[in-house]
């Protein structure tokens, strides 16, 4: 199927989104709908002594107020460990925690009622530093203590490696608590149906898991819960876990009325999931020719209050802590530690941006000390297919570290970097640096990773593709359409998609982990094969053509043993069969051996990108502008070049935000950056010019050769920006975001 042709079309969702006609779940209204308000904790850490709802219930327009006792099923949620209460009963662990839920006839009344819920707290000391939280006498957030997960992966002997090293680089790095800030905040409507079932309309990244989490909370049969989660107004990982769904589901089932909530930006920034800040201590040893000998890494992941995906994120970070470089001796240790600093969960990159900022920085510093250039030292160490990774598994699938490195070296920006660095202002300095990254794709070993797709032939000869994977802005639905159309030999306009709903689409796993395009390529191809087989079988039965008849898609129809048939003709021919549905299922390949002590590791397939950045630093103020970026990316097989470039644009902007602007500041458990005037994301004025270099090293385990690229495009840009600041000014950035004041203080250490 490598010769498949992908017809290029505009984004299938472009017109509706540009014109504002697309209905997001947060746009929906239902007759008799009530409005929810989440009563949030006043304190980041406290015991709940009493909750009095009488004043709130007495307010005209209030329909119900729920407390922990009203949770009908299991009062907890969490993808890995359901330790986050839907409504806290005895304890709160961050200021976004819910202590009661209000439903009222208007949003205003609901908010007023929330202020009338009287909660008696016994305030506990705030735990706000993950390293302090590990000490034996630290106050405990959970009964089991503050350690969410501890992982240690070792290979070889790092001490031996350091003894043999000519240069050893050792530093501590810190990374920000980045917020996802999707345009559509956490929102949705829960609708109780006449048959006792519940419909949940809420944009999220995995309807089929939401269904089970809601079943657990409500104590209901999952098949009595219908989840509609597509389209999503931006996710980036922040809607992988449940957000508001549990609360509005309880309210809807209690009141028998549809219940809606749409969080304000302020409430979203205070209560929502964030990227885990990491403190990384990394010691890396090199020989004088640049060969890496050892890497000793300790990561402290600020977990926030509840588990969610903190474990897999820590482990993916540790998997990547030495990148895919040839390091014979490694010691990767990590601690995911509970604190009262909000809640952290999945976020594009999933731990990899944090550790590669540290590693690529140590790499450039070693190169500088050894008099090597940044390309040479990396080329010396990149791994190839068939070699053993730094955590000890053999790389069986394609490895493109060398390809993206070669391509970024040949980029216009890197080739002409000395010219780009010229400036005639005495106070300005420009620098160029590069970095590269692998990003493990899929869910990892030990986690069933699978996906299905249905292709329905509709009566008019067009097709409906049914697949669980949602569109939250990535452009995947355009890609799915092109893949299905390419296999079927029809124009993509003949394929429509039904996605992200437990009724009418099929479970294909979460839209996370750079897995959507890859999973869909295999599930759709499997459904297409089923299509050919079933059509051939049906024709054989009808026309007695023999059992070995073969059908092939061609020119808007199929060649069959009884001649060419258009899809319209086939639809008519088999119109009695209902539905005309073909099914495809796919299971991800995984490693045959796990990494001991590290659940989920290793990953089997990787994405690869290298990026170079040109920055300009104002030495008078520390302001840093990212002027130009070159990206070399291996797509495996490009389905839609425009969407690939758009993913690069978005990834670079999000990486730039991580590197220069974004951080949720929390002090003593209170969020200080509650809106967009203090939580700073780049605007269109801040994003750079781009140079795109697209490589196609086909991924052999995809029926169509594709790799996921959604995450890796934001990773190398982060160290590249930090290292370009070094190239410009000579200072090493160890803490991100690299705000003007931070850069200024590095330039003037005595200040």
């Amino acid at each position: 199927m490598d010769d498949i042709h992908f017809e290029q079309v505009d984004r299938v969702d472009a017109l509706g989104k540009a014109c504002g006609t697309t209905e997001y779940m947060s746009d929906l209204s239902f007759p008799g709908m009530l409005y929810a308000w989440f009563v949030r904790s006043k304190y980041p850490h406290a015991l709940i002594k009493n909750v009095d709802i009488s004043r709130a219930m007495a307010l005209n327009g209030v329909v119900t107020v729920l407390t922990a006792a009203d949770v009908t099923g299991f009062n907890g949620f969490g993808i890995v460990n359901p330790d986050m209460p839907v409504i806290c009963g005895d304890k709160v662990r961050y200021i976004g925690d819910t202590v009661a839920l209000v439903a009222a006839t208007t949003e205003r009344i609901a908010e007023q009622a929330a202020a009338l819920v009287d909660v008696d707290y016994e305030v506990l000391p705030v735990v706000d530093d993950p390293i302090e939280a590990l000490k034996p006498d630290a106050p405990k957030l959970h009964d089991k203590g503050n350690v969410c997960l501890h992982t240690l992966i070792t290979k070889g002997n790092v001490e031996q490696g350091f003894r043999e090293a000519d240069v050893v680089i050792e530093h501590e790095y810190r990374t920000p608590r980045q917020a996802h800030v999707p345009l559509e905040t956490e929102s949705g409507v829960a609708v109780p149906e006449a048959d006792g079932s519940l419909s949940m309309y809420a944009g999220s990244q995995y309807a089929f898991r939401d269904q089970l989490q809601l079943a657990r909370i409500l104590g209901m049969n999952p098949r009595m819960i219908h989840v509609y989660s597509n389209p999503v107004g931006g996710g980036f990982g922040g809607k992988d876990e449940l957000t508001i769904q549990g609360g509005i589901a309880l309210l809807a089932m209690k009141t028998g009325k549809p219940v809606k909530v749409f969080l304000s930006r302020e409430e979203s920034l205070v209560s929502g999931w964030k990227r885990h800040p990491f403190i990384i201590r990394m010691k890396t040893g090199f020989k004088s020719d640049g060969t890496m000998l050892a890497n000793d890494v300790t990561c402290y992941e600020d977990k926030g209050a509840y588990t969610s995906l903190g474990g897999p994120i820590l482990n993916l970070a540790l998997e990547h802590a030495s990148s895919l470089y040839r390091v014979p001796n490694t010691r990767h240790e990590g601690w995911a530690v509970f604190t009262n600093n909000g809640v952290c969960g999945a976020f594009r990159g999933f731990g990899v941006p944090q550790v590669l900022f540290a590693l690529e920085s140590n790499m450039d510093e070693a190169a500088e000390q050894l008099g090597l250039d940044p390309v040479t030292i990396r080329r010396k160490n990149v791994l190839h297919q068939g070699e053993v990774s730094p955590i000890g598994h053999t790389l069986r699938t394609g490895v493109s570290m060398d390809l993206v490195l070669d391509a970024i070296e040949k980029s216009e920006l890197w080739q002409h970097r000395e010219e780009y660095k010229k400036t005639d202002k005495p106070w300005l300095r420009r620098g160029v640096a590069l970095a590269l990254a692998p990003q493990g794709a899929g869910l990892g070993l030990g986690i069933p990773d699978y996906g299905g797709a249905y292709i329905d032939l509709d009566g008019d000869g067009s097709f409906t593709l049914r697949i669980g994977l949602v569109e939250y802005g990535q452009g995947t639905h355009t890609g799915f359409t092109q893949m299905a159309a390419g296999l079927l030999h029809v124009h993509p306009s003949r394929v429509r998609i039904v996605a992200g709903q437990t009724e009418g689409s099929v479970d294909a796993g979460p839209a996370t982990a750079s897995r959507s395009m890859y999973t869909a390529s295999n599930a759709i191809a499997a459904a297409f094969r089923d299509f050919g087989v079933k059509v051939a079988g049906a024709l054989a039965a009808k026309y007695h053509t023999g059992a070995d008849a073969v059908c092939e898609a061609k020119d808007g129809g199929m060649t069959t043993p009884v001649g060419f048939r258009t899809y319209e003709e086939l639809a008519q021919e088999f119109s009695q069969e209902s539905p005309l549905r073909w099914e495809g299922y796919f299971v991800w390949p995984t490693a045959d051996r796990e990494i001991p002590g590290a659940a989920g590791l290793p990953h089997w397939i990787y994405s690869f990108a290298a990026q170079a950045a040109l920055v300009e630093v104002n030495t008078l103020t520390g302001e840093t502008h990212l002027l130009r970026v070159a990206t070399a990316l291996d797509t495996g097989h490009t389905v839609n070049p425009q969407q690939v470039e758009a993913q690069i644009d978005g990834g670079v902007a999000q990486g730039e935000g991580f590197a220069l602007f974004e951080d949720t500041l929390i002090s003593k458990g209170q969020v200080r950056t509650r809106n967009f005037s203090t939580y700073i994301i780049p605007t269109v004025q801040d994003v750079p010019e781009h140079e795109y270099i697209i490589l196609e090293n086909s991924e052999g385990t995809s029926a169509l050769g594709v790799r996921g690229i959604g995450e890796v495009v934001m990773v190398p840009i982060i160290p590249a920006v930090a290292l370009a600041i070094h190239d410009a000014t000579g200072v090493w950035v160890r803490q991100l975001p690299s705000t003007p004041e931070r850069v200024y203080r590095l330039l003037h250490p005595g200040l």
Binding site: L620, Q685, D686, P740, E741, Y744
Partner: protein, 293 residues
């Protein structure tokens, strides 16, 4: 939650002043609304009457008469940034207005609102100060004029009485031999509250020296401040383009500002940054008339 309030949309200046008198301290004016609506959402508006000035067309103008530029309080930042009069005769003000918020904010936010708000971070204020602007203030009985440097009494506070309204700002035209400029430090390129801002005015004498200088800094004191000692340093510069000399003169600003630590930056960094803002903008402006030896 936005609280409930009484709302009046004034159709002309006369009605606005009547409403001002009627409601006195109970009312808050809203012009472009770019600040008031944010404060309403944050629960920071104590008044319970909003008087909307955005329909008062007679306050929206820019004109030049007899060597004086008149800017109506209702002129938007976009108006100022695009006005040939302001660009030519009050360049610093055009630059400052162009750095406010974003296009959307500049299309509705007004210079009158920026001044009356009296924020120490207001971007047009240092520019108006170095242009020696005068604030025209009206109430139902008449008008009075206040030099802008005397207008502000503290953060968010001014000499405006509750029944008064800023109607206009006016300043003498700048011409050949007069340089003005503006600089701003924020957390990104647009949509950013100034961490520090700065405007300057230099009059170049026959000997090409600076014979008169006015320098103002914002976000580094309870109100926007003039930096008189720094101005004298610039007047002592030899007329040669020297980065070190210009930076040295700007260094005096360190002693003339009294910033605070807040979420955006620390005080000591703000002091350093205003020196940089001034040095950078002054160097660029003086490069047009001075040359390196």
């Amino acid at each position: 939650m936005i609280k409930e309030f009484e709302y009046h949309a004034a159709q002309d200046l006369k009605e606005a002043l009547e409403l001002a008198e009627q409601f006195g301290p109970r009312k808050r004016f809203l012009s472009g609304g770019t600040d008031v609506t944010v404060r309403l959402k944050e629960g920071l508006v104590t008044e319970d009457v909003i008087v909307d000035l955005s329909h008062v067309a007679e306050l929206r103008f820019v004109r030049e008469e007899s060597g004086v530029v008149h800017v109506g309080a209702g002129a938007t930042h976009a108006d100022l940034g695009a006005s040939p009069i302001v660009r030519q005769h009050g360049h610093a003000l055009a630059l400052a207005a162009s750095r406010v918020g974003s296009s959307q904010i500049r299309n509705v936010g007004t210079v009158g609102g920026n001044v009356a708000n009296a924020s120490p971070a207001g971007d047009t204020i240092p520019a108006l100060i170095v242009l020696d602007a005068v604030v025209s203030i009206a109430n139902r009985k008449g008008t009075r004029d206040v030099p802008i440097i005397d207008f502000f009494t503290g953060p968010g506070r001014s000499v405006l009485a509750s029944e008064e309204l800023v109607t206009e700002l006016y300043f003498p035209v700048t011409g050949p031999g007069e340089l003005t400029g503006f600089g701003k430090l924020g957390s990104r390129q647009a949509m950013t509250i100034s961490t520090a801002n700065m405007a300057f005015y230099f009059r170049i004498g026959d000997n090409r020296r600076i014979v008169e200088a006015r320098i103002a800094f914002g976000s580094v004191a309870p109100t926007v401040v003039r930096a008189h000692r720094t101005e004298r340093m610039f007047c002592q510069l030899p007329p040669l383009l020297s980065w070190d000399a210009i930076r040295g003169a700007a260094q005096m600003a360190w002693k003339e500002v009294a910033p605070i630590d807040d979420l955006r930056a620390t005080a000591v960094y703000r002091k350093e940054a205003v020196v940089g803002l001034l040095a950078e903008a002054a160097y660029e402006a003086l490069a047009s008339c001075w040359h390196e030896r």
